[in-house]
């Protein structure tokens, strides 16, 4: 219950409180909550195709790399390319998993690094950085001539859909470097041996399930401890049925977005997997290592993970294991059965207060050259958002087929736009899949949090452009 500020007592306390806080503020002049406040000027694109941002050749460059699944070897090689161009530039390279712990204080001091690979479990929530005005727009980079062909802008060298995730209200703040898709994986060897064909529709999948079970294999396994793995399976099931606009409505926090028919059908379909006992016993208690190990051991036929899975399991999965991806089998009456969640991952950001912004843009431009993308492909065998760099393995080729239609690429964004909403949707998905809440309860709960998020005027709201 909120009371009107009428009693003198309340006013006095408030005054004292604010006064004390103010006093503390003035006496703590040199601490974390104060710092330099110099906005650096914006970078414009010049005529020189060799150095479009006007980089000072001797200015140092400060790069922070998330040292996770991709390691940081590729970044070292990117930095060598930068140094070939600007031999006098001193590059500081920090590879860490603690992005938030190491970089947040620097933002707070007003002295952030120049380029940050803001990824992993300890990433700084990008929505909050944008709310605070701490990030530089990447427009100059995208409008600059590309390294390989000065007549083509950097923007036009990228795969379709690769900028979607870093775009907030039409402005690009994050360059998601790795290209990946969320798919359903199966073992082609297992399917061939038993004469099964990978299903394309939900019906076909359900029809196949009893045969799979007859072999003592569970049809599905998933990572129950981290329900984030269920996101794109559920949302693509929804979006395939109702078309991409259904998902855009959800992202845009439209009233009743979750009561759309497709949402309910998808929730019911997922719930029914549990009801019918098609999920490997114990899945809600498995982390990603346990669930993927169970999959490698052929305890289950399908697992929803991203396109990095085969690379991650290299040397872990049995030798005869053949990872093959499908899009989530679509429901009957689906309007856009080819829809797939694919696009950029691994966001690189440039802070608004970076000391060497031109250098940061140039560094990203080098990353987005053919040579830079090839380095990434060779060191971590993963695709980048740069078009035309091919990878030589089965799973990558099959994934490429799934993402071949640009109109069918869509990454649902609300979990990146609203990190607090994400925190509610994840466990709700987990509860739905483990049979703890019914589809109706799930939908109600989602609509409630969506409405709360829409009504929260302390955060910036984003929408998909028309």
């Amino acid at each position: 219950m909120r009371k009107p500020i009428s009693t003198p007592n309340f006013t006095r306390r408030r005054l004292l409180g604010t006064g004390a806080a103010g006093l503390a503020a003035s006496s703590l002049g040199a601490c974390a909550t104060s710092g330099a406040d110099d906005d650096s000027e914006d970078v414009s694109v010049g005529d020189d195709a060799e150095n479009p941002f006007g980089v000072d050749p001797s200015a140092p460059l400060d790069v922070v790399i998330f040292d996770g699944g991709f390691g940081n070897e590729y970044a070292v090689q990117h930095q060598e390319l930068y140094n070939e161009k600007f031999p006098d530039a001193e590059i500081s390279h920090l590879a860490t998993q603690q992005i938030s712990e190491t970089q947040q204080p620097r933002f707070a001091q007003g002295e952030p690094a120049d380029v940050i690979d803001n990824s992993g479990a300890q990433e700084i929530p990008i929505d909050s950085l944008i709310n605070d005005g701490e990030l530089a727009e990447l427009t100059p980079l995208l409008d600059a001539p590309s390294i390989d062909d000065p007549n083509v802008t950097v923007r036009d060298t990228l795969r379709p859909g690769s900028l979607a995730k870093g775009t907030f209200n039409g402005k690009v703040y994050g360059l998601n470097y790795a290209f990946s898709a969320w798919t359903i994986w199966y073992d082609d060897k297992l399917f061939t041996d038993h004469g099964w064909t990978a299903p394309t529709t939900w019906e076909e999948m359900l029809d196949l399930c009893p045969a799979i079970q007859a072999e003592g294999i569970a049809p599905w396994v998933y990572t129950g401890v981290h329900p984030v793995y269920l996101y794109d399976m559920f949302l693509m099931l929804t979006g395939r049925h109702g078309g991409v606009d259904v998902l855009k409505a959800i992202d845009n926090l439209e009233p009743d977005a979750w009561s759309q028919e497709s949402v309910g059908l998808a929730a019911e379909a997922m719930y029914k997997l549990w009801e019918d006992g098609y999920i490997l016993e114990g899945s809600p208690g498995l982390d990603h290592i346990q669930s993927q190990t169970a999959f490698n051991e052929r305890q289950a036929a399908f697992i929803p993970v991203g396109s990095w899975l085969p690379n991650e399991q290299k040397g872990i999965a049995p030798d005869d294991f053949e990872y093959a991806p499908i899009g989530v089998p679509y429901l009957e009456g689906s309007r856009q059965p080819g829809l797939i969640s694919a696009g950029g991952e691994e966001p690189f950001i440039v802070p608004q207060k970076a000391a060497n912004k031109p250098g940061a843009y140039e560094y990203l431009r080098i990353m987005l050259s053919k040579e830079g993308a090839q380095i990434f492909g060779d060191t971590v065998s993963a695709a980048t958002v740069v078009e035309g760099v091919k990878l030589d393995n089965l799973a990558a080729k099959l994934t490429d087929e799934l993402v071949s239609n640009p109109d069918d690429l869509f990454q649902p964004q609300f979990r990146f736009w609203y990190s607090k909403m994400d925190e509610e949707v994840r466990p709700a998905l987990g509860a739905l899949m483990s049979g703890e809440s019914t589809p109706d309860e799930f939908v109600d709960r989602m609509q409630t949090i969506a409405d709360e998020t829409a009504a929260d005027d302390s955060i910036e709201h984003f929408t998909h452009g028309a």
């Binding site: 909550t33 406040d37 129950g224």
Partner: protein, 307 residues
Amino acid sequence: MRHGKYPFILSFLALPVGLYAWLVILPFAQAFQISFTDWSGSTNQFDYIGFDNYVNLFKDGRFVIPAIKHTAVILVVLPIVTIALGLFFAFMLNIGGRSRQGRIEGVRGARFHKIVYFFPQVLSLAIIGILWKQIYAPPGFGGLLANGLQLFGLPAPANGFLAERALVLGAVIAVLVWSSVGFYLVFFSSAMAAIPRDFYEAGIIDGAGRFQLFFRITLPLLWESVQTAWIYLSIVALDVFVLIYTMTPDQGGPDGASEVVGGVIWKYAFRFADQAFASALGVVLFFAALTLAVVALRAGRRETIEY
């Protein structure tokens, strides 16, 4: 000489007091300051918004309210169970044995037991978390406990203990008890060792059994130790963040069933980038801990018996 006394003392105090002010008082003061702002944690700009964070704390039914409830449960259960077990074991190991030729002794192998019980204390909490995560795993995935239960034909949770909303908090508390009981066993043992044997001998001559020995002699004389243990354990109970972070699904799950105040502070500070809100919660926790310590000391004040 006399006139130089104060500068002399001050010169000794300056460094420790300065360090204390800089490293302890200042950060605390700053948390107070931050809690009145809308600071996200990754910018150097913020506005003062008065008590809004404090008001909003108690409107947050998704994180803060459940966290306070769970922390309160831990706050009650952990000290009671740990102290009860610690006292019981200490008594058995020191006094509870069969008396041989009138000598008061513990059960056989007391020294060995003491070392075994103390073992978990030398492990870091993070390791304990990883260890127990595996013990609590689903039966098909090497879950020691679930498999053990099934072996005896008892029901075991199919998804493991930590994925079960009703069991997860209890499972975490059990680990806390397991890891701390050894320390309090040794702590109470040394306190018991200070109680003169004559008291027990007198009691035995008067025909007291083990129960009476414990409740009439041991417990009253250990009261101050129990009180200290209570405060220590309460402080542990207010911060079970490490175990929640390493063991539970989604760090506080499933579906918020093991959310605790320490974990919520972390979530707001680093996952939601709302340092100001996190600081406000931290300030509340600070006062809760302070109040608790004062109340425990006041309420537990008794006559001290010197012996």
